[in-house]
Symmetry: C2
Subunit: 284 residues, 2 copies
């Protein structure tokens, strides 16, 4: 048994609401959980079973009858904030058959020829699945804005397009959980330095990471604007302090559990005659 548990649900505490200010978030804090790394890790392990059971029910419900529910976890963050660790240590705790993982890199020429949501639409999770977006359509209003990759009116258009898109996805039965992992500028420096210091981490470093780092404040502004414009009841944003990896993992795990509990998937009833099948099987 874990010695500590949540004092307040992260779905409540970390949700972006009217008046939210990213500048006021302490990336080093661990709101709602007053334990330390070791009790946090213990709770992560304990809650893995709950997440696992809920995921299996979600999957089962989609296989028989008319289960249309799915979950979409959108992960956005500055480099090194720990998206990979979330995928590995939180999502990695459930059955890989129930996970649709999609990483969005810089768009290809073909993707650029389409509307920015074209490639995203194709990767939406099917019913019964937990979809995970490692970066997403939000890049098109983050780096898109900071680097002026599209003109201003196009960027403006995108916020509304995102709201319409996400409303439609939610209406089709997909719970959308949008997470920004928030690290401090100092913590990022340390983590990038570690990648430079370890030969088994060199492949994770890209000189472009420092270029983007130089534009830190512009990125924070772009995130704030994205929150202001696109945190809706159907697709809320959560800002998760991420200087402590154990806390960020614990919080995202709980956000996923919360979304699944909201769906409350049930084991589907047999669509065949169970007793008749027992007899047929016994005779076979």
């Amino acid at each position: 048994m874990a010695t500590h548990t949540w004092t307040t649900e992260p779905a409540e505490l970390l949700r972006v609401r009217e008046g939210f200010s990213l500048a006021d978030v302490d990336a080093d804090a661990h709101p709602g959980f007053d334990g330390d790394k070791s009790s946090g890790t213990a709770l992560l392990e304990e809650r893995e079973q709950r997440l696992d059971e809920l995921q299996e029910r979600l999957f089962a419900a989609s296989r028989v009858g008319d289960g249309h529910d799915a979950v979409l976890l959108v992960l956005q963050a500055m480099d090194t904030a720990g998206k990979g660790g979330i995928v590995r240590h939180v999502v990695g705790g459930v059955d890989p058959q129930g996970v649709d993982f999609a990483a969005f890199k810089a768009p290809t020429e073909q993707e650029l020829a389409h509307d920015f949501l074209w490639r995203v639409e194709k990767r939406l999770p099917r019913p019964g699945m937990i979809g995970v977006f490692d970066r997403s359509h939000y890049e098109d209003v983050l780096i898109g804005r900071v680097r002026a990759l599209a003109d201003e009116s196009e960027i403006e258009r995108r916020y509304d397009a995102i709201i319409d898109f996400e409303r439609r996805v939610a209406a089709s039965g997909t719970r959308i959980v949008k997470v920004m992992l928030h690290i401090s500028r100092d913590e990022q420096k340390e983590r990038l330095m570690e990648r430079l210091e370890r030969h088994d981490k060199h492949w994770k470093y890209n000189p472009g990471d420092v270029d983007e780092r130089m534009l830190w404040d512009d990125y924070m502004d772009a995130y704030q604007t994205a929150f202001d414009r696109t945190s809706t009841p159907e697709a809320p944003w959560y800002v998760v302090p991420a200087d402590r990896k154990w806390y960020a993992r614990l919080a995202v795990q709980e956000l996923l559990i919360d979304a699944l509990e909201d769906i409350d998937p049930q084991w589907p009833l047999a669509d065949y005659d169970v007793e008749a099948e027992k007899k047929r099987l016994a005779a076979s």
Copy 2:
């Protein structure tokens, strides 16, 4: 530390060679490992780290420079043999970002309008990935043969088409590991009965499972023919006794480790000036 380890590599012991006879395989045996369930489970956990590290190296090698290597695990079996458990407990031990999972169901109308390898080609793992096929193109010479879903000359053609296809895939850098999980007819009956007896397992049962079970001997003949015709040096078959789930998982884990050790992926060298980047980062 696990108390028991492999006495002989499963890649050696379980490989289908000239003269192999499926009828002679004891589904309840645990060749090459003389421990029991508890020591087997301990070893599974211990070896997970090795698999995990090799997978990360494979992934890293593909991101920088010219790593073209990938692994493709093909899983075939009669119903209930434990494909799902392999995915969950063996493949589930590595980073989900490095796994491409594809389940092949009965082909759609669109798929049927193409050659049987069309849908398979599309799901081949990209460089750096571990691809997992839950069922595969072999269905087209298994149920395809047993149920006469295509005429005899077409089924005959497919064996050679498969050999050519797999040779091409192997030549492009993908290690192909084809596994048949072999359970006994009695064990299958027990496992199906359990699905009928537990309401949380009803969704896993399908009356069609018993229909296929009635054709057990025809399926074993179709498997034997597939082994005779398609176990090649580039894409060998392994028959894994699977009445004991713990053994099957341990064996498939080791087959994956063996394939990855054969690739021997290395951490890629930095394609940037590490010392210059340290200075640039420090100043940022």
